[in-house]
């Protein structure tokens, strides 16, 4: 087959496609569309363009027939008539076309599927490793100077060692001018406090929140963990009397903030320090461990 015959064959095929397409058009439009499309077909340059045109006419027929059904208006007039009642034109044109509605529906379905996928993946990320978060509140048994922070509300139970005072004798003059020798004051120093107080330092008590409930999601995703040391000042009822402060960071600002939030939330659930069995105001540090255990 020569190239010229090939081109003729393609033209013939295109015209045949157009004729078939036009025949499927609504009655009264078939002849008009066939002649119009054949004329326009011949004006297209190139066989490929013509074939595309012919295939497009098939689609155009479908659209025209569909719109004709929608309009539900009987077609009047002949192929040569200038007036036809063909129309997808409606007085009450909907705001959104059917095609747009379909597109939106498909887009919504895709969005829903994507959302479900993301939720599933997120749950797997959070729960699949199943890191049971461990809340270790480590109490440190260190002596705490409660007098410095609590002032007069704290009894002063700790015997303060008095440095030995060794002062030279002071001579003072009497009104009579006679020298009076004063004894060495070191012998008259205040009596050393020898009473010992049984102090038991407090800490997080029953009902104290657990770190798992305060584990920041951002830290979870990043696998951040660590131990924060927080100083809390509580009264005899186990309530905070001042804002807890961070003494030692976990290395993560998120976890540090979570530790402070946890310490605040624990107000009322602290175990008060006791002195001789009596609850007293006190400040003490404790550790909060944010741990992702594998």
């Amino acid at each position: 087959m020569t190239s010229e015959r090939m081109l003729d064959w393609v033209d013939g095929l295109g015209q045949d496609v157009i004729r078939r397409a036009a025949r499927r058009a609504p009655a009264g439009l078939s002849e008009r569309l066939e002649e119009e499309w054949l004329a326009d077909f011949l004006e297209r340059p190139g066989q490929f363009s013509r074939l595309r045109f012919a295939v497009g006419c098939c689609w155009a027929t479908s659209v025209i027939a569909y719109n004709h059904r929608i309009a539900a208006v009987p077609v009047t007039g002949s192929a040569s008539a200038q007036v036809n009642s063909f129309g997808l034109v409606q007085n009450n044109t909907p705001m959104v076309s059917r095609r747009t509605m379909t597109f939106l529906l498909v887009a919504c379905l895709h969005a829903a599927a994507l959302y479900a996928l993301l939720v599933t993946v997120t749950k797997e990320v959070v729960h699949a490793p199943a890191p049971p978060l461990q809340n270790h509140v480590i109490t440190e048994h260190r002596p705490v100077d409660v007098t410095s922070s609590l002032g007069p509300t704290i009894r002063d139970p700790v015997p303060i060692p008095q440095p030995p005072i060794d002062m030279p004798p002071i001579e003072s003059e009497s009104t009579e001018g006679a020298a009076v020798r004063v004894d060495d004051m070191s012998r008259n120093t205040a009596p050393t406090l020898t009473t010992t107080v049984n102090r038991v330092r407090g800490g997080p008590g029953a009902g104290f929140p657990i770190a798992e409930d305060f584990y920041p999601s951002g830290a979870l995703f990043r696998g951040e963990q660590g131990i924060a040391t927080v100083q809390a000042c509580v009264d005899g009822m186990g309530r905070l009397i001042s804002n807890p402060t961070l003494i030692q960071s976990t290395g993560s600002s998120r976890l540090d903030e979570a530790a402070l939030r946890l310490a605040k939330a624990g107000s009322g659930h602290y175990r008060a320090s006791t002195e001789d069995g009596h609850p007293v105001n006190s400040c003490y540090p404790f550790r909060i461990r944010f741990d992702l255990r594998n």
Binding site: R32, W37, W59, V83, L88
Partner: protein
């Protein structure tokens, strides 16, 4: 004319067709010429032309030739009606205001 000035659902493709005619509103264009100006595919172009014609925005007529002597089929020529010209102007004006008619 017997046609009513009816609302036409406006789309980007419809506006391209109108734009092709608004280059010179008195022109009578065949579908092939509208395609050259709007670059719309035939599957999109002809339904729009028929829709606008049904709405009274366009009128069409056959080319005044004898197909047998010309050796080709007659073209269908479309022209904007005064109503179509007015409505198309309104559409583009409201579009430029950000209000899609």
């Amino acid at each position: 004319m017997g046609k009513q000035d009816r609302e036409v659902r406006m789309s980007l493709q419809t506006m391209k067709v109108l734009e092709a005619f608004l280059e010179n509103p008195t022109d009578q264009l065949s579908g092939a010429e509208v395609h050259r100006r709007s670059r719309l595919a035939s599957g999109t172009l002809y339904p729009i032309l028929l829709r606008l014609e049904a709405a009274g925005w366009f009128v069409s007529r056959w080319e005044s030739i004898d197909p047998s002597s010309a050796g080709r089929p007659r073209r269908r020529l479309y022209r904007m009606t005064p109503t179509g010209l007015k409505r198309a102007g309104e559409v583009f004006a409201s579009f430029s205001r950000g209000v899609f008619a």
